[in-house]
Symmetry: C2
Subunit: 230 residues, 2 copies
Protein backbone atom coordinates (compact mmCIF):
# COMPACT_ATOMS: atom_id res chain seq x y z
CA UNK A 1 0.00 0.00 0.00
CA UNK A 2 0.96 3.61 -0.54
CA UNK A 3 -1.05 5.92 1.71
CA UNK A 4 -1.01 9.10 3.77
CA UNK A 5 -3.57 9.66 6.52
CA UNK A 6 -3.21 13.24 7.74
CA UNK A 7 -4.63 14.83 10.86
CA UNK A 8 -5.66 17.98 9.02
CA UNK A 9 -5.65 19.47 5.52
CA UNK A 10 -4.56 22.92 6.63
CA UNK A 11 -2.14 24.18 9.26
CA UNK A 12 -3.06 27.28 11.26
CA UNK A 13 -2.32 30.30 9.09
CA UNK A 14 -1.36 28.08 6.13
CA UNK A 15 -2.87 27.27 2.74
CA UNK A 16 -4.85 24.12 1.90
CA UNK A 17 -2.55 21.03 1.80
CA UNK A 18 0.59 23.12 1.23
CA UNK A 19 2.43 21.74 4.29
CA UNK A 20 2.19 18.27 2.69
CA UNK A 21 3.37 19.31 -0.77
CA UNK A 22 6.70 17.41 -0.86
CA UNK A 23 5.05 14.29 0.59
CA UNK A 24 2.24 14.41 -1.96
CA UNK A 25 4.65 14.72 -4.89
CA UNK A 26 6.17 11.42 -3.69
CA UNK A 27 2.82 9.78 -2.92
CA UNK A 28 1.42 10.43 -6.38
CA UNK A 29 4.69 9.96 -8.34
CA UNK A 30 3.95 9.16 -12.00
CA UNK A 31 0.26 10.01 -11.72
CA UNK A 32 -1.39 12.94 -13.51
CA UNK A 33 -5.01 12.50 -12.41
CA UNK A 34 -6.78 11.47 -9.19
CA UNK A 35 -10.36 11.00 -8.06
CA UNK A 36 -11.51 13.25 -5.21
CA UNK A 37 -14.14 12.03 -2.74
CA UNK A 38 -16.02 15.11 -1.49
CA UNK A 39 -18.82 13.44 0.51
CA UNK A 40 -17.76 14.81 3.93
CA UNK A 41 -18.80 18.31 2.70
CA UNK A 42 -17.26 20.55 5.39
CA UNK A 43 -19.73 23.31 6.39
CA UNK A 44 -22.17 21.88 3.86
CA UNK A 45 -20.36 23.17 0.74
CA UNK A 46 -21.29 21.59 -2.59
CA UNK A 47 -19.36 18.66 -4.03
CA UNK A 48 -18.30 20.79 -7.00
CA UNK A 49 -17.04 23.66 -4.86
CA UNK A 50 -15.12 21.23 -2.69
CA UNK A 51 -13.58 19.59 -5.74
CA UNK A 52 -12.51 23.02 -7.03
CA UNK A 53 -10.82 23.67 -3.70
CA UNK A 54 -8.88 20.40 -4.00
CA UNK A 55 -7.95 21.27 -7.60
CA UNK A 56 -6.59 24.66 -6.45
CA UNK A 57 -3.87 22.82 -4.55
CA UNK A 58 -3.28 19.99 -7.00
CA UNK A 59 -2.72 22.51 -9.83
CA UNK A 60 0.55 23.35 -8.06
CA UNK A 61 1.82 19.79 -8.46
CA UNK A 62 0.31 19.27 -11.94
CA UNK A 63 -2.35 16.73 -11.03
CA UNK A 64 -5.86 16.86 -12.46
CA UNK A 65 -8.66 16.28 -9.91
CA UNK A 66 -11.96 14.63 -10.91
CA UNK A 67 -14.75 14.74 -8.32
CA UNK A 68 -16.43 11.37 -7.77
CA UNK A 69 -19.82 13.12 -8.08
CA UNK A 70 -19.05 13.77 -11.76
CA UNK A 71 -19.39 10.08 -12.66
CA UNK A 72 -22.66 8.26 -13.35
CA UNK A 73 -21.06 4.96 -12.40
CA UNK A 74 -19.04 5.68 -9.27
CA UNK A 75 -17.89 2.09 -8.74
CA UNK A 76 -16.41 2.03 -12.24
CA UNK A 77 -14.86 5.47 -11.62
CA UNK A 78 -13.10 4.19 -8.49
CA UNK A 79 -11.92 1.05 -10.28
CA UNK A 80 -10.55 3.09 -13.20
CA UNK A 81 -8.87 5.75 -11.04
CA UNK A 82 -5.10 6.02 -10.68
CA UNK A 83 -5.18 7.49 -7.16
CA UNK A 84 -7.49 8.98 -4.55
CA UNK A 85 -7.94 11.87 -2.16
CA UNK A 86 -10.74 11.98 0.44
CA UNK A 87 -11.22 15.43 1.97
CA UNK A 88 -12.26 16.25 5.53
CA UNK A 89 -15.61 17.41 6.87
CA UNK A 90 -18.22 15.30 8.64
CA UNK A 91 -17.23 11.63 9.02
CA UNK A 92 -20.84 10.48 9.55
CA UNK A 93 -21.89 11.98 6.21
CA UNK A 94 -18.85 10.52 4.48
CA UNK A 95 -19.29 7.01 5.87
CA UNK A 96 -23.06 6.99 5.29
CA UNK A 97 -22.61 7.99 1.65
CA UNK A 98 -19.80 5.51 0.97
CA UNK A 99 -21.79 2.63 2.50
CA UNK A 100 -25.09 3.53 0.89
CA UNK A 101 -23.51 3.78 -2.54
CA UNK A 102 -21.52 0.56 -2.04
CA UNK A 103 -18.20 2.37 -2.40
CA UNK A 104 -16.35 1.71 0.88
CA UNK A 105 -15.16 -1.76 -0.09
CA UNK A 106 -14.45 -0.80 -3.70
CA UNK A 107 -12.15 1.99 -2.51
CA UNK A 108 -10.55 -0.35 0.04
CA UNK A 109 -9.79 -3.03 -2.54
CA UNK A 110 -8.18 -0.55 -4.95
CA UNK A 111 -6.03 1.03 -2.23
CA UNK A 112 -4.97 -2.39 -0.95
CA UNK A 113 -3.85 -3.21 -4.49
CA UNK A 114 -1.40 -0.32 -4.31
CA UNK A 115 -3.09 2.76 -5.73
CA UNK A 116 -2.05 5.88 -3.77
CA UNK A 117 -4.51 7.23 -1.20
CA UNK A 118 -4.52 10.51 0.71
CA UNK A 119 -7.02 11.17 3.48
CA UNK A 120 -7.34 14.27 5.63
CA UNK A 121 -9.32 14.36 8.88
CA UNK A 122 -12.60 12.51 8.04
CA UNK A 123 -10.76 11.05 5.04
CA UNK A 124 -8.17 9.65 7.49
CA UNK A 125 -10.80 8.29 9.86
CA UNK A 126 -12.06 6.01 7.09
CA UNK A 127 -8.56 4.57 6.72
CA UNK A 128 -8.86 3.20 10.27
CA UNK A 129 -10.77 0.11 11.37
CA UNK A 130 -13.95 2.05 12.14
CA UNK A 131 -15.17 5.61 12.70
CA UNK A 132 -15.71 5.24 16.45
CA UNK A 133 -12.92 7.70 17.28
CA UNK A 134 -14.06 10.58 15.09
CA UNK A 135 -14.58 13.99 16.70
CA UNK A 136 -17.53 14.79 14.47
CA UNK A 137 -21.16 15.38 15.32
CA UNK A 138 -23.50 12.49 14.35
CA UNK A 139 -25.64 14.63 12.03
CA UNK A 140 -26.78 11.59 9.99
CA UNK A 141 -27.13 7.86 10.82
CA UNK A 142 -24.76 5.64 8.79
CA UNK A 143 -25.75 1.99 8.20
CA UNK A 144 -22.47 0.95 9.85
CA UNK A 145 -19.47 2.55 11.56
CA UNK A 146 -17.04 0.14 9.80
CA UNK A 147 -14.33 1.68 7.64
CA UNK A 148 -11.59 0.50 5.27
CA UNK A 149 -9.07 -0.74 7.83
CA UNK A 150 -6.03 0.27 5.77
CA UNK A 151 -4.11 0.33 9.06
CA UNK A 152 -4.60 -2.02 12.03
CA UNK A 153 -5.77 0.71 14.42
CA UNK A 154 -8.07 3.71 14.70
CA UNK A 155 -7.15 7.35 14.21
CA UNK A 156 -8.19 10.39 16.20
CA UNK A 157 -7.45 13.34 13.91
CA UNK A 158 -6.97 16.91 15.20
CA UNK A 159 -5.81 15.38 18.48
CA UNK A 160 -5.96 18.13 21.09
CA UNK A 161 -4.28 18.16 24.49
CA UNK A 162 -6.40 19.08 27.50
CA UNK A 163 -6.48 22.81 28.25
CA UNK A 164 -6.03 23.26 32.01
CA UNK A 165 -7.40 26.84 31.81
CA UNK A 166 -10.75 25.86 30.35
CA UNK A 167 -13.63 26.30 32.81
CA UNK A 168 -15.81 23.85 30.97
CA UNK A 169 -17.07 20.43 31.95
CA UNK A 170 -17.31 18.83 28.52
CA UNK A 171 -15.02 15.80 28.22
CA UNK A 172 -11.41 16.22 27.09
CA UNK A 173 -10.26 14.33 24.03
CA UNK A 174 -8.23 11.98 26.24
CA UNK A 175 -11.31 11.20 28.36
CA UNK A 176 -13.30 10.40 25.22
CA UNK A 177 -10.65 8.04 23.84
CA UNK A 178 -10.37 6.32 27.21
CA UNK A 179 -14.17 5.82 27.13
CA UNK A 180 -13.73 4.23 23.68
CA UNK A 181 -11.19 1.82 25.21
CA UNK A 182 -13.71 0.71 27.87
CA UNK A 183 -15.83 -0.64 24.97
CA UNK A 184 -13.27 -1.63 22.31
CA UNK A 185 -9.90 -3.39 22.17
CA UNK A 186 -8.14 -1.40 19.49
CA UNK A 187 -5.14 0.92 19.47
CA UNK A 188 -5.98 4.60 18.90
CA UNK A 189 -3.46 6.98 17.36
CA UNK A 190 -3.99 10.55 18.58
CA UNK A 191 -2.67 12.54 15.58
CA UNK A 192 -1.85 16.12 16.48
CA UNK A 193 -2.31 18.70 13.71
CA UNK A 194 0.70 18.71 11.39
CA UNK A 195 1.26 14.95 11.77
CA UNK A 196 0.33 12.13 9.43
CA UNK A 197 0.53 8.37 9.08
CA UNK A 198 2.57 7.03 6.17
CA UNK A 199 2.16 3.48 4.91
CA UNK A 200 4.50 2.18 2.21
CA UNK A 201 3.96 -1.54 1.59
CA UNK A 202 3.76 -3.13 5.04
CA UNK A 203 5.71 -0.39 6.82
CA UNK A 204 3.57 2.07 8.77
CA UNK A 205 5.17 5.12 10.40
CA UNK A 206 3.99 8.34 11.98
CA UNK A 207 5.43 11.54 10.53
CA UNK A 208 5.38 15.28 11.20
CA UNK A 209 6.71 17.83 13.66
CA UNK A 210 4.77 16.87 16.77
CA UNK A 211 4.91 13.85 19.05
CA UNK A 212 2.02 11.41 18.58
CA UNK A 213 -0.05 10.12 21.51
CA UNK A 214 -0.96 6.43 21.56
CA UNK A 215 -3.85 4.97 23.54
CA UNK A 216 -4.22 1.25 24.28
CA UNK A 217 -6.52 -0.69 26.57
CA UNK A 218 -5.21 -1.12 30.14
CA UNK A 219 -2.12 1.02 29.45
CA UNK A 220 -1.21 4.60 30.24
CA UNK A 221 -1.21 6.71 27.06
CA UNK A 222 2.29 7.28 25.71
CA UNK A 223 4.08 9.46 23.16
CA UNK A 224 6.09 8.38 20.11
CA UNK A 225 8.40 10.40 17.86
CA UNK A 226 8.19 11.07 14.13
CA UNK A 227 9.54 8.11 12.18
CA UNK A 228 8.36 5.55 14.75
CA UNK A 229 6.76 2.41 13.35
CA UNK A 230 3.19 1.61 14.25
Amino acid sequence: MNIILASTSTLFGGEYLVYLKEELIKLYEGIDEIVFIPFARPSGISYDDYTAKAQSFFDIINIKVKGLQEFDNKIEALNNAKGYFTGGGNTFLLVKTLHEEGLMNVLKKNVEEGKPYLGCSAGSNIGGQNMKTTNDMPIVYPPSFDCMGLVPFNINPHYLDPNPDLKHNGETRETRIKEFLTQNELKVVGLREGNWIRRIGDKITVEGKELTRIFEKNKEPYEIEAGSEL
Copy 2:
Protein backbone atom coordinates in the same frame (compact mmCIF):
# COMPACT_ATOMS: atom_id res chain seq x y z
CA MET B 1 -44.82 17.10 31.81
CA ASN B 2 -42.45 18.09 34.58
CA ILE B 3 -38.85 18.01 33.39
CA ILE B 4 -35.44 19.62 33.62
CA LEU B 5 -32.86 19.09 30.88
CA ALA B 6 -29.58 20.58 32.09
CA SER B 7 -26.45 21.35 30.10
CA THR B 8 -24.16 19.94 32.78
CA SER B 9 -24.31 18.25 36.17
CA THR B 10 -21.48 20.26 37.66
CA LEU B 11 -20.38 23.85 37.37
CA PHE B 12 -16.67 24.63 37.21
CA GLY B 13 -15.33 24.50 40.78
CA GLY B 14 -18.72 23.34 42.12
CA GLU B 15 -20.10 20.12 43.58
CA TYR B 16 -22.22 17.60 41.70
CA LEU B 17 -25.75 18.99 41.00
CA VAL B 18 -25.54 21.57 43.81
CA TYR B 19 -26.21 24.57 41.53
CA LEU B 20 -29.61 22.98 40.69
CA LYS B 21 -30.60 22.21 44.31
CA GLU B 22 -33.55 24.63 44.65
CA GLU B 23 -34.88 23.63 41.22
CA LEU B 24 -34.64 19.93 42.04
CA ILE B 25 -36.52 20.35 45.34
CA LYS B 26 -39.39 21.79 43.25
CA LEU B 27 -39.08 19.22 40.45
CA TYR B 28 -39.33 16.25 42.82
CA GLU B 29 -41.82 17.80 45.29
CA GLY B 30 -43.63 15.09 47.27
CA ILE B 31 -41.33 12.32 46.04
CA ASP B 32 -38.94 10.40 48.31
CA GLU B 33 -37.40 7.94 45.83
CA ILE B 34 -36.25 8.11 42.20
CA VAL B 35 -34.75 5.71 39.70
CA PHE B 36 -31.30 6.65 38.38
CA ILE B 37 -30.28 5.66 34.84
CA PRO B 38 -26.48 5.24 34.87
CA PHE B 39 -25.92 3.78 31.39
CA ALA B 40 -23.89 6.72 30.01
CA ARG B 41 -21.07 5.70 32.42
CA PRO B 42 -18.78 8.76 32.28
CA SER B 43 -15.12 7.69 32.08
CA GLY B 44 -16.30 4.08 32.19
CA ILE B 45 -17.19 4.04 35.92
CA SER B 46 -19.41 1.21 37.14
CA TYR B 47 -23.19 1.60 37.35
CA ASP B 48 -23.04 1.15 41.13
CA ASP B 49 -20.34 3.78 41.62
CA TYR B 50 -22.27 6.20 39.45
CA THR B 51 -25.46 5.56 41.42
CA ALA B 52 -23.58 6.22 44.66
CA LYS B 53 -22.41 9.54 43.22
CA ALA B 54 -26.00 10.52 42.43
CA GLN B 55 -27.08 9.43 45.92
CA SER B 56 -24.39 11.66 47.46
CA PHE B 57 -26.26 14.69 46.13
CA PHE B 58 -29.81 13.41 46.63
CA ASP B 59 -29.06 12.69 50.32
CA ILE B 60 -29.00 16.47 50.76
CA ILE B 61 -32.61 16.79 49.61
CA ASN B 62 -33.80 13.56 51.30
CA ILE B 63 -34.44 11.50 48.19
CA LYS B 64 -33.45 7.85 47.92
CA VAL B 65 -31.80 6.84 44.61
CA LYS B 66 -32.22 3.35 43.15
CA GLY B 67 -29.97 2.48 40.19
CA LEU B 68 -31.87 0.92 37.28
CA GLN B 69 -29.17 -1.79 37.14
CA GLU B 70 -30.39 -3.08 40.52
CA PHE B 71 -33.66 -4.39 39.03
CA ASP B 72 -34.10 -7.73 37.26
CA ASN B 73 -37.10 -6.36 35.37
CA LYS B 74 -36.09 -2.88 34.25
CA ILE B 75 -39.30 -2.15 32.36
CA GLU B 76 -41.32 -2.85 35.48
CA ALA B 77 -38.89 -0.76 37.52
CA LEU B 78 -39.41 2.24 35.22
CA ASN B 79 -43.19 1.77 35.27
CA ASN B 80 -43.22 1.60 39.09
CA ALA B 81 -40.86 4.55 39.62
CA LYS B 82 -42.03 7.90 40.99
CA GLY B 83 -39.40 9.97 39.16
CA TYR B 84 -36.19 9.70 37.14
CA PHE B 85 -32.69 11.05 36.76
CA THR B 86 -30.43 10.20 33.82
CA GLY B 87 -26.80 11.13 34.39
CA GLY B 88 -24.29 12.35 31.78
CA GLY B 89 -21.46 10.49 30.12
CA ASN B 90 -21.44 9.01 26.64
CA THR B 91 -24.71 9.50 24.73
CA PHE B 92 -23.98 6.66 22.29
CA LEU B 93 -23.64 4.17 25.15
CA LEU B 94 -26.76 5.52 26.83
CA VAL B 95 -28.92 5.41 23.70
CA LYS B 96 -27.64 1.99 22.65
CA THR B 97 -28.42 0.49 26.05
CA LEU B 98 -31.88 2.09 26.30
CA HIS B 99 -32.86 0.88 22.81
CA GLU B 100 -31.40 -2.60 23.18
CA GLU B 101 -33.19 -3.15 26.48
CA GLY B 102 -36.45 -1.70 25.13
CA LEU B 103 -36.44 1.10 27.71
CA MET B 104 -36.45 4.33 25.65
CA ASN B 105 -40.18 4.28 24.93
CA VAL B 106 -41.10 3.03 28.41
CA LEU B 107 -39.28 5.97 29.97
CA LYS B 108 -40.83 8.37 27.44
CA LYS B 109 -44.37 7.17 28.17
CA ASN B 110 -43.93 7.55 31.93
CA VAL B 111 -42.43 11.04 31.65
CA GLU B 112 -45.17 12.12 29.25
CA GLU B 113 -47.70 10.99 31.86
CA GLY B 114 -46.23 13.52 34.28
CA LYS B 115 -43.56 11.80 36.35
CA PRO B 116 -40.65 14.16 37.01
CA TYR B 117 -37.53 13.75 34.88
CA LEU B 118 -34.06 15.25 35.26
CA GLY B 119 -31.41 14.81 32.59
CA CYS B 120 -27.87 16.17 32.58
CA SER B 121 -25.72 16.35 29.45
CA ALA B 122 -26.24 12.91 27.76
CA GLY B 123 -29.38 12.58 29.90
CA SER B 124 -30.60 15.85 28.36
CA ASN B 125 -29.74 14.79 24.83
CA ILE B 126 -32.20 11.89 25.13
CA GLY B 127 -34.95 14.37 25.99
CA GLY B 128 -34.55 15.87 22.50
CA GLN B 129 -35.88 14.46 19.23
CA ASN B 130 -32.69 12.54 18.47
CA MET B 131 -29.05 12.36 19.52
CA LYS B 132 -27.65 13.90 16.34
CA THR B 133 -26.43 17.02 18.18
CA THR B 134 -24.45 15.29 20.93
CA ASN B 135 -20.80 16.22 21.40
CA ASP B 136 -19.82 12.69 22.32
CA MET B 137 -17.54 10.24 20.58
CA PRO B 138 -19.35 7.37 18.79
CA ILE B 139 -17.63 4.64 20.83
CA VAL B 140 -20.48 2.15 20.20
CA TYR B 141 -23.07 1.79 17.43
CA PRO B 142 -26.67 2.30 18.64
CA PRO B 143 -29.52 0.64 16.69
CA SER B 144 -31.06 4.10 16.20
CA PHE B 145 -30.29 7.75 16.99
CA ASP B 146 -33.95 8.44 17.93
CA CYS B 147 -34.62 9.72 21.44
CA MET B 148 -37.64 10.49 23.64
CA GLY B 149 -38.67 13.79 22.06
CA LEU B 150 -39.89 15.31 25.34
CA VAL B 151 -39.31 18.69 23.69
CA PRO B 152 -39.88 19.59 20.02
CA PHE B 153 -36.22 20.34 19.29
CA ASN B 154 -32.70 19.02 19.82
CA ILE B 155 -30.27 20.03 22.53
CA ASN B 156 -26.56 20.70 22.31
CA PRO B 157 -25.33 20.48 25.91
CA HIS B 158 -22.08 22.10 27.11
CA TYR B 159 -22.52 24.63 24.30
CA LEU B 160 -19.16 26.33 23.82
CA ASP B 161 -18.46 29.57 22.00
CA PRO B 162 -15.63 29.59 19.44
CA ASN B 163 -12.25 30.48 20.90
CA PRO B 164 -10.56 32.96 18.52
CA ASP B 165 -7.15 32.25 20.11
CA LEU B 166 -7.17 28.54 19.33
CA LYS B 167 -4.66 27.57 16.62
CA HIS B 168 -6.54 24.42 15.76
CA ASN B 169 -8.46 23.44 12.67
CA GLY B 170 -11.04 21.13 14.22
CA GLU B 171 -14.58 22.42 13.71
CA THR B 172 -16.14 24.85 16.21
CA ARG B 173 -19.39 23.86 17.89
CA GLU B 174 -21.26 26.40 15.77
CA THR B 175 -19.83 24.91 12.56
CA ARG B 176 -20.92 21.43 13.66
CA ILE B 177 -24.49 22.52 14.43
CA LYS B 178 -24.68 24.35 11.11
CA GLU B 179 -23.59 21.10 9.38
CA PHE B 180 -26.43 19.34 11.25
CA LEU B 181 -28.85 21.93 9.80
CA THR B 182 -27.71 21.17 6.24
CA GLN B 183 -29.09 17.64 6.78
CA ASN B 184 -32.00 18.14 9.22
CA GLU B 185 -34.87 20.60 9.69
CA LEU B 186 -34.98 20.87 13.45
CA LYS B 187 -34.31 23.65 15.93
CA VAL B 188 -31.16 23.17 18.04
CA VAL B 189 -30.83 24.75 21.47
CA GLY B 190 -27.19 25.48 22.32
CA LEU B 191 -27.27 25.21 26.13
CA ARG B 192 -24.31 26.89 27.77
CA GLU B 193 -23.09 25.37 31.04
CA GLY B 194 -25.21 26.60 33.94
CA ASN B 195 -28.37 26.71 31.82
CA TRP B 196 -31.25 24.26 31.64
CA ILE B 197 -34.58 23.70 29.92
CA ARG B 198 -37.66 23.59 32.14
CA ARG B 199 -40.91 22.05 30.95
CA ILE B 200 -44.01 22.31 33.18
CA GLY B 201 -47.09 21.00 31.38
CA ASP B 202 -46.96 22.49 27.90
CA LYS B 203 -44.78 25.46 28.84
CA ILE B 204 -41.11 25.13 27.90
CA THR B 205 -38.61 27.77 28.99
CA VAL B 206 -34.85 28.14 29.11
CA GLU B 207 -33.37 28.99 32.51
CA GLY B 208 -30.01 29.84 34.05
CA LYS B 209 -27.47 32.64 34.17
CA GLU B 210 -26.25 32.62 30.57
CA LEU B 211 -27.89 33.56 27.30
CA THR B 212 -28.92 30.58 25.17
CA ARG B 213 -27.99 30.27 21.49
CA ILE B 214 -30.64 29.01 19.06
CA PHE B 215 -29.90 27.52 15.66
CA GLU B 216 -32.51 27.10 12.92
CA LYS B 217 -32.27 26.17 9.27
CA ASN B 218 -31.77 29.14 6.92
CA LYS B 219 -31.50 31.62 9.80
CA GLU B 220 -28.63 33.32 11.54
CA PRO B 221 -28.13 31.88 15.06
CA TYR B 222 -29.63 34.11 17.76
CA GLU B 223 -29.56 34.49 21.54
CA ILE B 224 -32.46 34.32 23.99
CA GLU B 225 -32.62 35.28 27.66
CA ALA B 226 -33.46 33.17 30.70
CA GLY B 227 -37.22 32.79 31.05
CA SER B 228 -37.84 32.83 27.28
CA GLU B 229 -40.34 30.30 25.98
CA LEU B 230 -39.18 27.74 23.47
